[in-house]
């Protein structure tokens, strides 16, 4: 055998060996994306965000998901435990990029443990502002969740009695609701409306607050998440029977009990976060991706409440709004 042939044979064997050794490595080298949800699957908002993430990421990276489930588990011990678990997963799996949704993940995970760390984060669903978490960090970008307050309050004002200048905000007695109320109250103030809060912990109080609000200009309904005995069917019937003034909300899950909804779109957050993650995977530094806020919202109308109330809505509104077709 000539030397040339021997040489080629040697090179061929070396290449084969290299491919054999690097094969698993190359497979392992595929991009890994970790999605950490503050809440749990089955929670409408979180499911929408997840849907947007998954649809946008597609096959771009290997996606793993961890639900911190802090909506249903609010104890510090639990939070501590789930955060440790999450950290352990991050250290073990070494994702290329981490997407978080909603405030708890930003607060307990990013702010607490990964400020200016090497591993990039993309947050979404952080309510209203990032200032309280000190963002932006060098390794963090994301999209802020802002509700379409101004359109909602302006529409409510247009449809209600112009002789009244006060309105009620009814929601669960939770930190989030308090935060929301503050934002809405400020926005309403710009329109000359005094917004009062009625944050309750049970359904009876909620009913009482709702009945009390009937003599206000309009009602802003916050989330019932946090009201332990919430009976959706009963409350739908209650609001249909007793609702006589304009009620508005930013939460689509509150539409069975509300006349008009100005709802955020969770998919917008998921899609944006996924696009940012892809840009990071493609080499863009998180600091070069500006933090933005969502700008899409949707208009909903509850025809049952409309029909049972004496409220008259302009035709352009009833033509444009989506109709709530399912009842609890």
């Amino acid at each position: 055998m000539s030397r040339t042939v021997k040489s080629w044979a040697r090179h061929g064997l070396s290449l084969l060996l290299l491919i054999t050794l690097l094969g698993p490595t190359l497979t392992l080298a595929a991009d890994r994306c970790l999605y950490i949800s503050s809440y749990h699957q089955g929670y409408a908002w979180s499911d929408g965000v997840e849907r947007g993430i998954r649809n946008t990421l597609g096959e771009r990276c290997e996606l793993r998901q961890l639900d911190m489930d802090t909506k249903r588990n609010k104890g510090d011990a639990y939070i501590q435990q789930i955060v440790e678990k999450t950290k352990h997963l991050i250290e073990e799996w070494q994702p290329n990029v981490i997407i978080t949704s909603d405030d708890n993940a930003a607060k307990y995970l990013i702010q607490a443990h990964y400020k200016n760390a090497k591993i990039p984060f993309v947050f979404c669903g952080v309510n209203w502002t990032i200032s309280e978490y000190g963002f932006p960090y060098s390794n963090v970008t994301g999209i802020i969740e802002v509700a379409p307050l101004k359109p909602m309050l302006e529409q409510a004002a247009r449809l209600s009695s112009h002789s009244l200048y006060s309105a009620y905000y009814i929601g669960a007695d939770t930190l989030t609701e308090k935060k929301n109320f503050s934002r809405i109250q400020a926005a309403a103030a710009e329109l000359g409306i005094t917004l009062e809060k009625r944050l309750v912990s049970n359904m009876a109080d909620w009913k009482k607050a709702y009945l009390d609000a009937q003599n206000q200009r309009y009602i802003v309904l916050g989330s019932h998440s946090g009201i332990s005995d919430w009976n959706a069917k009963e409350m739908a019937q209650f609001t249909a029977d007793r609702g006589q003034i304009v009620s508005v909300t930013n939460h689509d899950w509150m539409m069975p009990f509300t006349l008009l909804g100005f709802t955020k779109i969770p998919e917008e957050h998921g899609e944006w976060a996924a696009k940012a993650a892809i840009a990071i995977l493609d080499g863009t530094s998180p600091i070069d991706i500006p933090i933005v806020s969502n700008r899409k919202w949707d208009l909903w109308l509850n025809p049952i409440l409309l029909e049972k109330s004496a409220i008259k809505l302009p035709r352009k509104l009833t033509r444009k709004a989506k109709k709530v077709t399912t009842q609890p």
Binding site: V126, W128, T129, I130, S131, P136, T141, I144, E145, V146, P148, P151, W272, K275, A276, A279, T284, D288, I289, P290, I291, V292, S293, R295, K296, W297
Partner: protein
């Protein structure tokens, strides 16, 4: 052998045809290519027209999108994201070449403050304005003292585009100028940024927006009422992406030509296949300018026909088809030309061949007749004319059966059609017999024919050919040879071979049909007498006469044959033994009644006839012939002129048969040297006789058990089966050997003679004299010591040969004695002719002569005759002294007998001496 010479095309014709064909093929290929090129050009023009229209529509669509957005801004009180986002999404979705839609708000410092507050209130506390292009952030404070053009909306809002939010465009002079131009023309403006901002698509189209619901008419008013700019980024590759049919490879070039005529190339497609393009083929080009405001955008389209458009396969196909057609036409033309030439040559050759064939047919020695398929004559050659005795013109078109009567040679059966006759024989693989053709002259001609079919090219029979050969001469010769092979040349009767064949057939017939036949074996008595007396010619004549006599006596179905010499055979069909004996007796009778005359001599002719019944229990032909032979010789033994029928238990036959049994034993004894010689002395009765004593050699056959076979038993058998010559030669050779030894040992005191007996067969052997002479020399024996004894009968039976032999022996010195004189014919006439010197008187006269006066007279008479003839006499069988005395008294010279000496072993001669 015919060599077919193929006509060929000349080289110059071939070259011209080839060159002409090539030129035509190339021209066709060029025309096809040109047509394809023109078609490709047409398609290019058509498609570029489509492209131009599409690009024009797309540019118009982009402008229309801007106009739509402007209309929207004019129709709404507040232009916010909620309003712009849906319509922007739809526009981008509808026009994929639009990659983003931005709204740049021309904000006053208070509005900028409000914008910043809003953005920061929306959760982005660190939101800041960004510079555009190469401006630095420190120039931004200007925005708070004068107007800035800030990106307040962009769709899609993506990580890539989000950084444009809050970016100031007004700070860029070039961009500002472009906006002014758009304001001036109240139309769209194109921009191509050379900014290094990675997140910004450099290709843009914009239209300004103005405060109020209606676009200001005057330039000054538009400048005053300018509220912002809608800006599209355009993806030119997408703009130039068409879903068209496969077509020429196209290269696009877009250039913006501003109002000053300055041209800025903004886009060029990359075409990696340029290196593969043939410069010889050239390019297809199309250019179109679109007007956008006070700018023009020019689209240059350069195309290279792709392989499919030029359809090289079709060009090749047309060339190949042309070549094939040319080849086909050329081939047809050439083939026709060649065929014509070959046909002419073939016709010439055919004529030559026909002439040759005619000459050949005229020349050959066989008659040739050809017919059509219905066997009507179409041709005959001259030999056939001769054989048929008719000319071709006389028989043309007639059936051969009408003009030539044929029949088979053997059976004489008429053959209507010799063609079918021979064809049938060929098919059945039988050998056809010769036919006989009756010539008009009456002569019959034996012919041998062969028949063949005449077939056309495809093998269909179109006629037949009959070749006739006159085999009359061969047939006659064959018949003659066959006759000679089966007939006796002398008598004309069947010969022995044919007789045996017929006998075989008869024997087979007897076995199969259980029929009875008879065989007569006829042997003439004393036929030699005629031959010896009158010569062979007489004998032959006698045989011819007897053949006619015998033939006349028999039926036509019976067989008469000459078996050899004087022997005849007769086969009588379907005949019992009694009837056969009657026939045999009649034959014997007619032979006996015949008087043969020759040279005034008359001979009585007689025959001995053996008759054998041919039955199915006879095994073989040889058995049958042996039985007939035995019966015949038995008849002879019974006294000649007799008929004897063969019977398996016949005594005579048995005796004869027993003789036959000795035959192999005698032969074996000779071969094994079993015979012994004894001698018996013959003494002189007179004084002064010479020789003084004679020793006669006698033959003995001792057996293993001490007994001896009597010569009276085996000598007749040897004589019967012609073995005596061999025995006599054995005796001569052994006797000479002994004599040589005796005389080598000593010289006899007395004169001596040795006597050796010779049979009649030996005397008749013409080679015996030579044998004896050679043996005398071999053993160095003086011939005068030897005397041969012959009998009267044997001498007479072979008289002429015996006479010749005796004279030869006498010449060299040997003597002869005539033995047993007086018991046979006792013809004194022969004594005068036979040159013998001794006469042995038969012992039956001597033995009892003392008692019988007749015997004494006979002895005395013989002695007297011998003395008169000067012959010495020997008396044998002397058994007492009284006879010796009488013999001496009578004057007999010698005596022999038991009284004198019994035979002694020959070896004793050595001792006695």
């Amino acid at each position: 052998m015919t060599v077919k010479q193929r006509t060929t095309v000349s080289v110059s014709t071939s070259v011209l045809l080839t060159i002409g064909s090539l030129v035509i093929v190339l021209c066709v290929g060029f025309v096809a290519f040109f047509m394809n090129w023109e078609k490709a050009n047409e398609q290019f023009n058509y498609r570029t027209k489509t492209i131009v229209q599409t690009v024009s529509q797309r540019l118009a669509s982009a402008d229309a999108a801007l106009i739509t957005l402007i209309g929207l801004s004019q129709a709404t009180e507040e232009l916010n994201s909620a309003l712009l986002t849906p319509i922007s999404e739809k526009l981008i979705e509808r026009f994929p070449f639009i990659t983003s839609i931005s709204y740049l708000s021309l904000l006053t410092p208070p509005e900028i403050e409000s914008f910043l507050a809003e953005m920061r209130n929306n959760g982005m506390p660190q939101f800041q304005l960004q510079p555009f292009g190469s401006h630095k952030a420190d120039t931004l404070p200007d925005c708070f003292t004068k107007k800035c053009l800030i990106t307040t909306f962009i769709e899609p809002l993506e990580p890539k585009t989000a950084r444009q939010i809050g970016m100031d465009w007004w700070s860029d002079q070039r961009f500002r100028t472009m906006i002014f131009e758009a304001v001036t023309t109240n139309g769209p403006a194109l921009a191509s940024s050379n900014s290094a901002i990675e997140f910004l698509n450099p290709h843009m189209m914009l239209r300004p927006t103005y405060f109020g619901n209606v676009t200001p008419r005057s330039l000054a008013e538009r400048q005053e009422q300018l509220s912002g700019v809608f800006l599209l980024t355009i993806d030119y590759p997408a703009l130039l992406e068409f879903k068209l049919e496969p077509m020429s490879e196209l290269s696009y070039s877009l250039s913006i030509i501003d109002s000053n005529g300055e041209e800025q190339n903004i886009f060029n497609t990359e075409n990696t296949n340029g290196s593969n393009r043939s410069l010889m083929l050239g390019t297809l080009e199309q250019s179109q300018t679109f007007n956008l405001g006070n700018q023009n955008i020019r689209l240059d389209i350069i195309g290279w026909p792709i392989k499919d458009e030029l359809r090289p396969l079709s060009v090749l196909f047309s060339m190949v088809v042309t070549a094939v057609l040319l080849y086909a036409f050329s081939s047809i033309w050439l083939n026709r030309r060649l065929a014509a030439a070959e046909r002419s040559a073939a016709q010439e050759q055919l004529f030559q061949e026909k002439d040759k064939a005619d000459v050949t047919l005229q020349s050959i020695g066989d008659g040739v007749i050809t017919t059509d398929i219905a066997f009507r004559i179409t041709y005959i050659n001259p030999v056939a004319e001769i054989l048929l005795g008719r000319t071709f013109s006389q028989i043309k078109g007639r059936f051969i059966s009408e003009i030539a009567p044929f029949r088979t040679k053997e059976s004489g059966q008429v053959v209507e059609n010799p063609f079918t006759y021979y064809m049938g024989a060929q098919q059945s693989r039988n050998t056809p017999t010769h036919l006989v053709l009756a010539h008009p002259s009456g002569r019959e001609i034996s012919i041998d024919c062969t028949v063949s079919h005449l077939t056309n090219r495809v093998g269909n029979t179109i006629g037949s050919v009959l070749v006739m050969r006159d085999v009359s001469l061969e047939s006659e010769l064959t018949s003659a040879l066959a006759y000679q092979a089966s007939h006796d040349a002398l008598t004309g009767l069947l010969n022995r071979n044919e007789f045996e064949n017929r006998l075989k057939e008869m024997l087979e017939s007897s076995r199969i049909q259980k029929s009875q036949h008879a065989l007569c074996y006829i042997d003439l008595d004393q036929f030699k007498l005629v031959n010896d007396t009158c010569g062979h010619l007489a004998g032959d004549n006698l045989l011819k006469q007897l053949a006619s006599i015998l033939q006349a006596q028999m039926r036509e179905m019976d067989v008469v044959a000459r078996l050899g010499g004087d022997e005849f055979g007769v086969l009588i069909h379907h005949c019992g033994l009694d009837r056969a004996l009657e026939v045999a007796e009649r034959l014997k009778q007619v032979i006996g009644d015949h008087r043969f005359k020759w040279d005034e001599k008359i001979f009585d002719v007689h025959a001995s006839i053996g008759v054998v019944q041919i039955t199915h229990d006879i095994d073989t032909l040889s058995d049958l012939m042996s039985a007939a032979d035995l019966a015949c010789y038995t008849a002879k033994d019974m006294g000649r002129d007799t008929v004897h029928a063969y019977q398996p238990n016949d005594k005579e036959i048995a005796h004869r048969h027993s003789q036959m049994q000795w035959l192999p034993r005698i032969q074996e004894a000779l071969h094994n040297n079993e015979f012994k010689l004894v001698t018996q002395r013959i003494v002189s009765l007179q004084n002064n006789t010479d020789p003084h004593e004679i020793y006669e050699f006698l033959l003995r056959w001792p057996q293993g058990d001490g007994s001896q076979v009597s010569p009276g038993i085996f000598i007749p058998a040897a004589e019967r089966y012609d073995l005596m010559r061999n025995i006599d030669r054995w005796v001569v050779q052994n006797a000479f050997s002994l004599i040589e030894k005796v005389h080598a040992e000593y010289v006899p005191l007395r004169s001596r003679l040795y006597s050796i007996n010779l049979s009649g067969q030996s005397i008749g052997d013409p080679k015996l004299a030579g044998f004896i002479s050679s043996q005398l020399k071999r053993y160095n024996i003086t011939p005068e010591l030897i005397c041969f004894e012959i009998t009267e009968t044997s001498a007479i039976a072979n008289y002429s040969t015996a006479d010749e032999f005796i004279r030869q022996m006498l010449t060299i010195g040997c003597q002869f004695a005539l033995d047993d004189f007086g018991s046979g014919l006792s013809s004194f006439g022969y004594l005068k002719q036979l040159p013998v010197s001794l006469l042995k008187i038969d012992g039956q006269f001597v033995r009892d002569m003392a008692k019988d006066p007749v015997d004494r007279v006979m002895v005395r008479t013989i002695q007297d005759v011998a003395r008169a003839l000067k012959l010495k006499t020997i008396a044998e069988w002397v058994e007492d002294e009284q006879v010796i005395d009488l013999l001496r008294e009578i004057g007999i010279d010698y005596a022999q007998g038991f009284h004198i000496e019994k035979p002694q072993p020959a070896d004793k001669l050595l001792v006695l001496s």
